[in-house]
């Protein structure tokens, strides 16, 4: 195919062979672990900062403001300045907090996000690990984050934090179901849980087009549930500023707060990346039927740009939700999940199964 020129497999294999020439097999493994680890770490830090900046600019535009403008041209260095500030701030531990759990919680939250990134395919061949059950892996790992949130709320010895953590627990556990269900809908269409295969299956057309009605419904449900899972507005009950001041991270300061903050944005990326992989064809370019000239032009754009373009689009949608809607109440969040999303999802799976069985998809 035309986009083989952008294949990262040759790059990664050449690195592997290069290392193997002067290292024993165990050394190669360790060196590759280190390389992957460092690049994921760098990616999270840089992309997190970019996302924070984008969020502030996007929100400003929605609100007829300019957003950060002072630090650097167009405020480009604002988030870096903020990050430096957070690094230098004092780490405060409340007197009667459970010290061990209090310090552990932010690490759980951030580690879980790193784990989920491992299975995200950025481009062809640029994926840390391609599990057979990649989709299941991502959805299960990303739901572990709630443990960190619960621990943070419990150990802070603050009633606001506790209420926030309990809300977050109820919310994430419920919405995990919807995320899972909408993933299952798409897995039925793809016929595989391996992320690379799911993307390969979309080389002729993205699932949101080939799967038409059930895919669109699943996409909407996934967006709603994904927003809820990342604790973003209108589902930001766990930190509900006007009710609980800052919810579960009320007592955190400095870099520990930054971990929660960063994790929120990286989770946003993971949800958007999963939406991209499952609905929008991952790094596959946009093709229209038999328009070969058009398709060739599309192929010319590297897959990594396709991937990030689609991810940014989904992130923009989620930001749009956040800056438009009022927050839901805790019982309404559960009502939305159990009375609306779950039945719709179950019916949608049936519909998708029917369509796949009858071959009514494109």
């Amino acid at each position: 195919m035309a986009f083989d020129i952008y294949d990262f497999t040759s790059l990664t294999s050449s690195i592997h062979e290069g290392l193997a020439t002067f290292l024993p097999p165990v050394g190669v493994l360790i060196a590759e672990w280190l390389l992957v680890g460092i690049s994921v770490l760098l990616f999270v830090a840089v992309f997190g900062l970019i996302l924070v900046y984008l969020e502030r600019k996007v929100c400003a535009l929605f609100q007829q403001r300019l957003g950060p403008m002072r630090v650097g041209k167009w405020g480009l260095l604002q988030t870096i300045a903020d990050f430096i500030k957070l690094l230098m701030k004092e780490l405060i531990t409340p007197n009667k907090a459970d010290k061990f759990l209090y310090n552990l919680a932010p690490f759980i939250v951030i580690i879980v996000t790193f784990m989920a990134i491992a299975a995200i395919p950025f481009a062809k061949g640029l994926q840390a690990i391609d599990f057979d059950i990649g989709v299941l892996y991502v959805s299960s790992v990303s739901s572990l984050g709630v443990i960190g949130v619960l621990l943070a709320g419990w150990s802070s010895n603050n009633k606001y934090s506790l209420i926030g953590a309990m809300r977050s627990g109820a919310q994430i556990i419920s919405y995990e179901l919807s995320v899972g269900m909408s993933l299952i809908t798409m897995i039925i269409l793809a016929g595989s849980m391996q992320i690379s295969e799911i993307i390969q299956a979309q080389s002729t057309g993205w699932f949101i087009f080939t799967g038409h009605i059930p895919a669109v419904i699943a996409f909407i449900v996934f967006l709603i549930a994904g927003t809820a899972e990342t604790n973003r507005g209108p589902f930001d009950l766990a930190e509900a500023e006007s009710e609980l001041t800052a919810g579960f991270h009320t007592e955190y300061s400095g870099i520990k707060f930054a971990f929660f903050f960063l994790a929120e944005y990286v989770n946003l990326f993971i949800v958007s990346a999963m939406a991209t992989v499952l609905f929008l064809g991952g790094w596959m370019p946009f093709h229209v039927g038999s328009l070969d000239g058009f398709n060739a032009v599309m192929d010319f754009i590297p897959p990594i740009f396709w991937f990030f373009g689609k991810v940014m689009f989904v992130i923009f949608l989620i930001m749009w939700f956040k800056w438009t809607f009022p927050r839901l109440r805790i019982d309404q969040i559960l009502t939305l999940e159990w009375k609306y999303l779950l039945p719709v999802n179950l019916l949608n799976i049936l519909l998708m199964t029917l369509i796949v069985l009858m071959g009514w998809h494109f």
Partner: protein, 374 residues
């Protein structure tokens, strides 16, 4: 072998206390609420006020009558002009001075502009309390235009000190009529946007309809006035029932609703904004010629006696009670501030609500803390 059965009667939930405020994003200043909660359910709300008690009533006892209005600016700073006007009217009535029609009309227009500005700020903060942060900027954007009109007319944006006993501080600016007309036209077009963004939103409606119910009888008994009282069906619009300034010569509707819930209070205020625009439109082309100030004596002394003046501020009924002993300073001044009585009903309204509901209820009561603390 004995089996231990779990006895559910022995497992009890426990009420716990949470201090909401004095530094809290949704208490709009420094109000402190001591909440008795069971889980998320509010059992009791005990408002603790006084964090910015500034002793305005005491200070008034050592000021002369023209000096008092500038202190009332600092009570309910969002209804500054209505507060000024209340004092001015009270002194004028005591001295039996009839102010020129021009003053009356100017005061009425300024009142309604002030009411619009206050309701706009309330609307945007309401949205923010509910978690829709964008409303905050849209409301402030429109309020800024009113503040510009204020600045051009009297030089101040917030603490106006515009109405003085015997008239208004400045005559209107030559641009005043044009600017107000432009604003009315602009804001009429923007008002549907408010409804589109918040009033119609399914999440917002779900969160407000049926929450914080206050019956008409309770509203009267607790003295909940203003849009909050009228949403319960309590016809308490002072402008309608005890007209002052030029309110007897304009036609407007008293917005009355019967639901008495948070959404009704919200909708009452939004409807009032449209009503205010109508009042302004009726008056803006008919400002009579004349003086903007009656000649007053150098030292104003009120005859011995008690004087009471009621005006309708953006939050409800403001009463000014002046007791004079014939000197140039009042003997005692009491402000019956609307927020004070409205806050008293908060506990009654929010029993059994959730924390998120409490924030919504508090937001629709439109509390301004200096108004309560004075």
């Amino acid at each position: 072998m004995t089996t231990t059965t779990l006895d559910f009667d022995t497992i009890k939930t426990q009420e716990y206390l949470v201090n909401m405020g004095p530094q809290h994003p949704s208490t709009h200043g420094v109000l402190r609420l001591v909440l008795k909660l069971e889980g998320e359910i509010v059992h009791n709300v005990d408002p603790v006020v006084g964090y910015i008690h500034s002793g305005i009533e005491k200070m008034c006892e050592s000021l002369t009558y023209p000096q008092i209005p500038h202190l009332t600016d600092r009570m309910d700073y969002l209804s500054a002009h209505m507060n000024n006007e209340a004092v001015a009217l009270c002194v004028e009535n005591a001295l039996q001075i009839e102010v020129p029609d021009r003053v009356k009309v100017i005061r009425t227009i300024m009142d309604e502009l002030q009411r619009l500005a206050s309701h706009q700020l309330w609307w945007c903060v309401m949205g923010m309390d509910m978690g829709a942060l964008t409303t905050f900027f849209y409301g402030l954007r429109d309020r800024e235009l009113i503040l510009d009109i204020f600045e051009e007319t009297c030089g101040a944006r917030l603490t106006l000190n515009y109405s003085t006993p015997g008239g208004v501080m400045f005559d209107i600016h030559p641009n005043f009529q044009k600017r107000v007309k432009d604003f009315v036209k602009y804001f009429r077009a923007k008002l549907p946007e408010y409804n589109q963004l918040l009033s119609g939103n399914v999440i917002f409606r779900e969160r407000t309809i049926g929450i914080g119910y206050l019956s008409k009888e309770d509203a009267i008994a607790w003295g909940v006035t203003g849009p909050s009282g009228r949403a319960s069906g309590f016809a308490c619009d002072v402008r309608k029932h005890h007209p002052y300034s030029a309110y007897d010569r304009v036609s407007f509707n008293e917005i009355l609703r019967t639901e008495g819930d948070t959404y009704a209070r919200y909708q009452a205020r939004v409807d009032e904004m449209a009503e205010s625009l109508d009042i302004i439109e009726q008056l803006i082309d008919n400002i009579p010629q004349g003086d903007h100030q009656v000649k007053m004596k150098g030292v104003i002394k009120l005859p011995e006696g008690e004087y009471y003046q009621r005006v309708e501020t953006a939050r409800g009924e403001l009463g000014v009670f002046i007791v004079s002993d014939g000197k140039k300073n009042p003997y005692r001044v009491k402000f019956r501030s609307p927020g004070f009585s409205n806050l008293a009903a908060l506990n009654h309204m929010s029993k059994g609500a959730k924390i998120a509901d409490l924030v919504a209820i508090m937001s629709t009561l439109d509390l301004v803390i200096p108004d309560i603390d004075r």
